[in-house]
Each structure stands twice: as C-alpha cells, then as structure tokens.
C-alpha cells in the first residue's frame, strides 16, 4: 500500500456567516504504488479539494493522508519540501498555471533548482531531456506560453511536474480544456509516462470516458463523499450506486445514435448546496430508489463483493 487516505474531512468557513461549507465528508481511499485512481463526480463533489489536500496545498480539517508511510498533512513547511517534490499536480488550464512572462525552459529549470535535484551544470541538458520526454522539441524552451498551442502548453505543465521527479502525479482535469483532436495524444502520453517512470496517478475528471480509459480503480464522489469504489471494469460495467448509474447513463456517448429516448433517462433535480448539507444520504432527493429512511440514515461505504464498495444499503447485489 502506498497511498492511504483515511477519513479525510475538509470544511471551509464562509467569512460573513457561521456557515460551514462541507467540501469533504470523510473520504477513505487506498491506492497501490504504480496504479491509477480515477476520481469522477460533478462540480462541487469535492474532487478538486481532495487533490489539493493530497498534494499538501491545503490541510485537511480531520483525517490523515499517508504517502509511502509518511504523513503528508502534518509536515512543517521546510521539513515538507522534500516530500512535496514527490507529489506533483497538473492543472486543467496550463494557460493560468504557467507564468505568462517566463520562458518555457526557465519554468522547468526553476523546479529543478528549487528542489536542488541535480548539479547546476546539468540543468540545461535535463530541461532538454524533459522536453523530449513529453514530446516537445528543445527549440521551444525559449518560447513563452502564449506562443504554444493548448496541447503543447499542457505538455509543458507535465514536463514541469516531472522535473520534480515525483512518484505521485495528481492530474486535475488535465485534458478537459484541450481541443478534442489533441486530447487523445495527451492521454496516450500520460499512459506512456506512467509505465516509463513507474508513476502513480490520481486522475480527476468529470468525463467518465477518459476516467475509464486510464484508471485501474475508480472512486465516484458525490457531495464530498465516495459513494462507490472499485476496479474500473466493475464501476463501468456493473455499477450499483444509483448515482454512478445515472452518471454513466448521462455520458454523451456516440456509440448510440439517433435515439432521443436515451436523453430522457436522467436524474431529476440538482446537486444540493454543500453549505446546507441534506440529512441522511446526501443523494436522497434525486435518487430513483430512495425509501423514507434515506432522509435520516447516513449510509457508509460497504464492501458488497470483492473490492467493490458501495454507500447505499438499498441496492440489490
């Protein structure tokens, strides 16, 4: 076991009132080294908050995150830096995560310098090596972000993350902002890099198609909780939680065509406000199989078959 997330909670306070926004409500996940965890859910489900907490950008309000036997959340800042280089993040929009006034080469070398990873005279060669690893020509190192295409910029973000020599890469919607025709290339690159450097990935997306393509295990989140967890085939082919089922049914899927009926099979209502959490099961108001007790009973994640966890006592296995 390599990544151990246990009962992680995160609340944010709204400055003008006493209300708490419950972003994460007790998330527990374990992930083996070298595996890829896909996290899927709609906006407000807490998937990006989880990414920030795992990477150490934010402290959880409760719970613990262990990476290779070491606590991530507890590190004092200076002490924490060597740890931080082992966990890196790639964001959705490389245009806002890269400094517009910094040349590509310097954006990458900066990471190597900060983490004191190699001697000074080796940095130039290392930057060129990193560019070639992500499929970019070394000529690009003197360019600025605006001179690159969206796909190239995202490759730079990936090179920058790899510069820190991480074991764990957190990818937060890494292809969502890219044009459809370049998404596949970046996805294939990520899969190649994972094998080449024995990386562990946390791949966060609202796009179940991409999640299905890259993940070994999938966690489905709803309102700050994991509602279903299992290996990718189980989640895609034998989903049990009514929310996972609805999510799969709502995926725009071009394998079914010319059938407007498929559009009507969808959930009613919208995701509740995390500042005013519903009682009982957070999904009950939209759930097609809800029974009266769901409004008061809080379901926990139960193993229903081998390594397949579902947080719903009403599903028939």
């Amino acid at each position: 076991m390599s990544l151990l997330i246990e009962n992680v909670e995160k609340q944010y306070k709204i400055r003008t009132s006493a209300t708490l926004v419950h972003a994460l409500n007790g998330v527990s996940i374990t992930l083996k080294r070298g595996a890829t965890l896909g996290i899927v859910g709609e906006s407000g489900c807490g998937k990006s908050t989880l990414a920030r907490v795992i990477s150490g950008l934010e402290k959880p309000s409760a719970g613990s995150i262990m990476w290779e036997g070491e606590e991530i959340a507890d590190k004092a800042k200076n002490h924490f830096r060597p740890q931080r280089s082992r966990v890196q993040l790639v964001f959705q929009d490389p245009y806002s995560s890269l400094n517009p006034r910094q040349q590509i080469g310097s954006a990458i070398s900066e990471v190597i310098v900060v983490h004191k990873l190699i001697p000074k005279d080796g940095i130039k060669a290392r930057v060129e090596e990193l560019l070639s690893i992500v499929g970019l020509s070394s000529d690009l190192q003197h360019r600025y972000p605006h001179q690159l295409s969206g796909g190239q910029r995202q490759r730079v973000s990936i090179a920058r993350a790899l510069a820190a020599e991480p074991d764990l890469l957190i990818l937060d919607e890494p292809v969502s902002a890219l044009d459809v025709s370049v998404r596949a290339e970046v996805m294939n690159l990520l899969i190649d890099l994972r094998e080449k450097f024995n990386l562990t990935y946390i791949f966060i997306s609202h796009d179940l198609g991409m999640i299905r393509y890259i993940s070994d295990v999938i966690a489905v989140m709803y309102l700050g909780k994991v509602v279903e967890f299992g290996d990718w085939e189980t989640i895609i082919e034998r989903p049990l939680h009514p929310y996972t089922r609805a999510l799969i049914a709502a995926m725009p899927d071009h394998s079914i065509i010319g059938n407007p009926e498929t559009l009507s099979k969808t959930l009613q209502g919208e995701v509740p406000d995390p500042a005013h959490m519903p009682t009982g099961c957070a999904f009950h108001a939209r759930c097609p199989i809800a029974v009266p007790i769901c409004t008061t009973r809080t379901p926990s994640l139960i193993e229903v078959s081998n390594k397949h966890y579902v947080a719903c006592p009403e599903v028939k296995v």
Partner: protein, 324 residues
C-alpha cells in the same frame, strides 16, 4: 429527408476580419429544413460559432460577411436593414448562448426580462404576465412566481439555462440556434437540458441549429450533422452516415480519438497528429492535409470541394473507405 424549400439556406458564405483581412469562414454552404435539427461540430477556431452569429447579424465588431447569401424563408438576411433584422431576431429565429450569466441582464428580474422580449415585438397586455409564467413552467422552473421575482445570480447554472430557453421560445420561433448551451453544465444537468430541448422541438415542430464541439451531445439530438475544420465544411450528412461511415479523414480521426464510456476494450486512443490550422493561413490547399494520413501532392495544391447530397457530402480527394 425534407425535399421542400429549405427554411434557412446559407450559400458560399465568406467571413473575414475587416482590417488586415484574415479569412475566418470560407465558402460555407448548408441548409436547414422545416422541422429539421442540424448539428454543427468543430473545434475552437473552426468557425462554427461565427457561422451561427452571422445568420442573426451578430458578428463581432470588425468581422464582416464578404461573400455569399443567408436566405431565411426567401429573405436574404445578409442584406436587410438593422430594423428588419430586429423583427426576425427573437420572433422568427431565436438564439441560446453558452453562458447564460453573460447573456442575461444581472440587474433585472427574470420576469421582467421575459416580458421585455414580448414587448420588443408585440404590445404587452394583461395576458403577457400569464405567458411569461407559462413559458417558465414549460421549461421546468419550479415555483414560477418566486422565479419571476428573482435575479439571475439566484439561480444555478442549469436553471439559468432553462430561463434562457424559456426566453428563446416565448415568441414561438421557427428556428432555434443554440451555441454550446450545455458545455458549462454538469453531465446530469446537461442531459436534462438536452431532453427538454428535444421535447420542445418535437412539440413545436421547430427547426434547430445546434453548435457543439462534442459529438456525443448531438448523436441523439439532431437529424443531420455538419463538420467544420479551419473555416470550411469538410463533411456533412445524416447522423447515421457521419457516425457509422465517416469519410473525411478529420471526421474519421475525431471519432476514433474519443473513448466510448461503455466500451469494454481499452484500445489505445487513435490521435490526430499536429494542431488545427488557422483558416487564413491555409491557402490553395486542403486545410487538413498537414495532419492527414491520406494526403498526397494533390491535397497540397488544390482546395477540395464539398460534393455529394443532403444525406452525405464530403470535401476530400481521398475519402476514407473509398478506393479511387
């Protein structure tokens, strides 16, 4: 397929910037028939949005139609006055945008905004309030009275998009143009909106032009598809033809690059090398040639014309699956 006169007929449309002319749309020709739904698919910069905006005379400042005609019900929309256009906009052809927060007035109550739409075309009378209420109810807004008295920021993204649709439908237009109205929404909410639009279209026998970058969204919504690349139409045809028998290498590659949510195999995604070209940099060649697996010298020296029928047309010298 509808063989009658098309409701909307765009022919040989060219659009470019006024200063330092840069071609943005090149020789675009398509039709929308009565009751028909047509999808326009393309990536950013392909010209799908500009094509739609030009129909309603809403091109951004400095961007103009330089060639071609846009005929709606026998009237050339490219040559009418601003006043005549205002009569058509909203009542005959209505539009729904991607981001309702910028399309709605943030400091005006929802009820008043819908009333304003009626007012811009007809005399408002005692029945108008009732029409607004009816329109909001129809698109699934709960507690209509409270909604009319609310401001846009008090709604969720999905509810705002419902309000936009109510606004677009309140004068019963014959043609609805939608520019990626579900792109910013979560998938389950997107599905709700698509179901709503499909239902309204069926009830009203309304024509539709649906612009999107997502092939999955239109697969079950429209009758025909137009695929745009670098300012030109590269392929068009019925949904079935495009999805099951794509002939342009771009369409073919695009479909192959999409993971299918329910696919059991995990085949490696086929990718299209390179990046889309800027339409004004293409010149006398096929715009897709630099990225194409089928390209020959012919493709570098000539622009392929869009040839075929309503059921299926393709602009390519070496279409996929066709041996020459």
């Amino acid at each position: 397929m509808n063989k009658s006169e098309p409701l909307l007929s765009v022919a040989h449309l060219d659009i470019s910037t006024q200063q330092d002319p840069r071609v943005l749309i090149n020789d675009v020709t398509f039709q929308v028939h009565e009751g028909e739904a047509v999808g326009v698919v393309g990536e950013s910069g392909s010209g799908k949005t500009l094509s739609a905006l030009s129909i309603l005379g809403l091109l951004p400042r400095g961007v103009v139609v330089t060639e071609g005609s846009i005929e709606y019900n026998g009237v050339d929309l490219a040559s009418i006055t601003a006043q005549e256009m205002r009569k058509i906009r909203g009542s005959e052809i209505a539009m729904v945008y991607q981001d309702p927060m910028t399309a709605l007035n943030p400091v005006m109550k929802i009820g008043d905004q819908l009333l304003e739409v009626i007012e811009s075309h007809e005399k408002v009378d005692s029945s108008s309030q009732g029409r607004v209420r009816e329109a909001l109810k129809e698109v699934g807004i709960p507690d209509v009275d409270r909604a009319m008295d609310s401001y846009p920021h008090e709604f969720s993204g999905g509810m705002r998009q419902r309000v936009m649709i109510a606004m677009a439908l309140i004068l019963s237009p014959k043609l609805l143009i939608a520019d990626e109205p579900t792109t910013a929404l979560d998938v389950t909410i997107q599905q709700q909106i698509l179901a709503l639009v499909a239902e309204e279209r069926r009830k009203r026998h309304m024509s539709m032009l649906w612009i999107t970058h997502d092939l999955g969204v239109v697969a079950n919504l429209v009758d025909r598809l137009i695929v745009m690349y670098a300012g030109r139409i590269v392929e068009s045809g019925t949904v079935k033809e495009i999805f099951t028998n794509p002939q342009h290498p771009y369409t073919y590659g695009l479909l192959a690059s999409l993971p299918i949510a329910t696919d059991k195999s995990r085949r490696r995604l086929t990718s299209i090398a390179g990046v889309p070209q800027k339409p004004w940099l293409v010149g006398q060649s096929c715009s897709f040639a630099p990225r194409c697996f089928n390209a020959t010298s012919e493709c570098q020296n000539q622009i392929p014309q869009l040839l075929g029928t309503l059921e299926k047309s393709v602009a390519c010298f070496h279409p996929v699956g066709v041996t020459s």
